[in-house]
């Protein structure tokens, strides 16, 4: 069989590129990583993802794919060893549902608690906490969302364990309240300690500085 050529266009600080890296690592896929110098998007990125112009983009034998969760499912369907998605259609629907919930509910509320102030900030913080609490129920008593081992949903939402904690530190809010959601809190810790997962993490101190700057920019220079 001809050698597969896999490239990943990413950004060191992007959690969406990170979750694709995790999928590639878990499958043991050899790939070439190309760092984008955001916001100076390369002509290659603009050519490969003309619709959304965003990272990550996976290029497999010259064919580009965009949107991290779509990419992860593609990786899982193309390299079928160590399956990430469950087999049963109902379990697959549930995994997709919770990944969407995390992206569409937990993330915006977390972002709002990060960039807003006063009453709006408090409201966003509460909403984010409740959304994380709702996510906890999806574990259904298992150690990981994938069951005994990690799967699609774990890598889809595990990054929040880093980024939400950064938001907590920088914006002085509580999102993943350990006593309110001990099971989810433990899952975040266990997931991020797994060697394959931990090895791919960007340096925390660099992320902290980067996100502090990002917050200042979004809040218009005032903290």
């Amino acid at each position: 069989m001809a050698e597969d050529k896999v490239q990943l266009l990413g950004y060191w600080g992007s959690p969406f590129a990170l979750r694709v890296k995790w999928a590639l690592k878990l499958k043991g896929i050899q790939y070439e990583y190309l760092e984008e110098d955001l916001p100076n998007k390369s002509p290659m990125l603009l050519e490969l993802n003309p619709v959304l112009k965003k990272v990550p983009v996976l290029v497999h034998n010259g064919k580009p794919l965009a949107e991290s969760l779509v990419i992860i499912e593609y990786i899982d369907e193309t390299w079928t060893h160590n399956p990430l998605m469950p087999k049963d259609p109902y379990d697959r629907a549930k995994a997709r549902f919770w990944a969407k919930f995390a992206d569409e509910k937990c993330v915006p509320a977390t972002m709002s608690s990060f960039t807003k102030s006063g009453e709006e900030k408090e409201k966003a913080e509460k909403e984010a906490r409740e959304n994380f609490k709702t996510l906890e129920s999806a574990l259904e008593g298992k150690p990981f969302f994938g069951g005994e081992g990690i799967g699609f949903l774990d890598i889809a939402i595990g990054w929040l364990g880093i980024w939400a904690r950064l938001v907590e530190e920088i914006a002085e809010v509580t999102l993943i309240a350990d006593d309110y959601m001990p099971v989810l809190s433990k899952w975040f810790k266990d997931f991020l300690e797994l060697p394959t997962i931990k090895e791919a993490l960007p340096p925390r101190d660099k992320l902290l500085v980067h996100n502090k700057g990002f917050r200042e920019m979004l809040m218009g220079g005032s903290t």
Binding site: L52, V70, Y90, R92, A93, R96, F97
Partner: protein
């Protein structure tokens, strides 16, 4: 084998519910349709089956609840594989999922902007909406349907949304066919399909509904 019990919690005007109904019809799946009165008060079954969002559509299959229309269509495709809605290869599937995601994020947001706002805000929404349709038109290319020769996943995801296009055109005072000739042709092509013709309500009825919605939101 005992008959499978398939129930859809539905609302006639919801583009999201339309997607699921079309998918079930395309697959020849028999199901019970239960209309929710979203303004009169949501049923206990709906609130119990979709505790996270409390929204339609919800597909109940042998008492298991599946929520979120694009996810439900995927579930229907995987559970009743014939005829397939997604392409057979992983790359084709990924392309379809990308465009479904694009429709869910871009088309609805801009479309909602058209009926929910006035003046400059509405103009911006209108331009974004037309822009998103142009992107979709490019993806369609010269093909009859998004998947190629057969009506499939992306067509279903978009045609549900298209039930509100007439209302957007009326509020925004524009015609899609003036901007997207090929997509307009695709719309007409889809309307000829039995499943689509059966499921999509009369455009005037949707328009009247959106007029009521606007009033409820205190616009005009």
């Amino acid at each position: 084998m005992s008959k499978e019990k398939v129930v859809l919690l539905d609302c006639w005007v919801s583009p999201f519910c339309m997607r699921v109904k079309i998918a079930l019809l395309e697959k020849g799946v028999e199901y019970e349709n239960r209309e929710e009165d979203l303004f009169g008060g949501k049923s206990e079954l709906l609130l119990k089956s979709n505790p996270v969002y409390g929204k339609v559509p919800v597909l109940l299959h042998n008492a298991k609840a599946i929520c979120e229309s694009t996810i439900i269509v995927g579930y229907v495709d995987e559970t009743w594989p014939s005829p397939p809605l997604l392409p057979p290869c992983a790359y084709g599937k990924a392309q379809a999922r990308f465009w479904a995601d694009f429709i869910d994020k871009k088309v609805f947001e801009a479309g909602t902007g058209i009926w929910r706002s006035k003046g400059e805000e509405q103009e911006v929404a209108k331009n974004e909406f037309i822009g998103s349709l142009k992107e979709l038109e490019m993806a369609l290319g010269e093909k009859a349907f998004f998947g190629g020769d057969s009506f499939g996943f992306v067509d279903i995801i978009l045609i549900g949304a298209a039930s509100w296009f007439y209302a957007y055109e009326k509020f925004g005072e524009f015609k899609i066919e003036d901007h997207c000739r090929r997509l307009s042709a695709w719309l007409k092509r889809c309307m000829k399909r039995e499943s689509v013709a059966k499921v999509l309500p009369e455009p005037e009825k949707v328009y009247e509904f959106v007029i009521q919605l606007r009033k409820m939101h205190g616009i005009e």
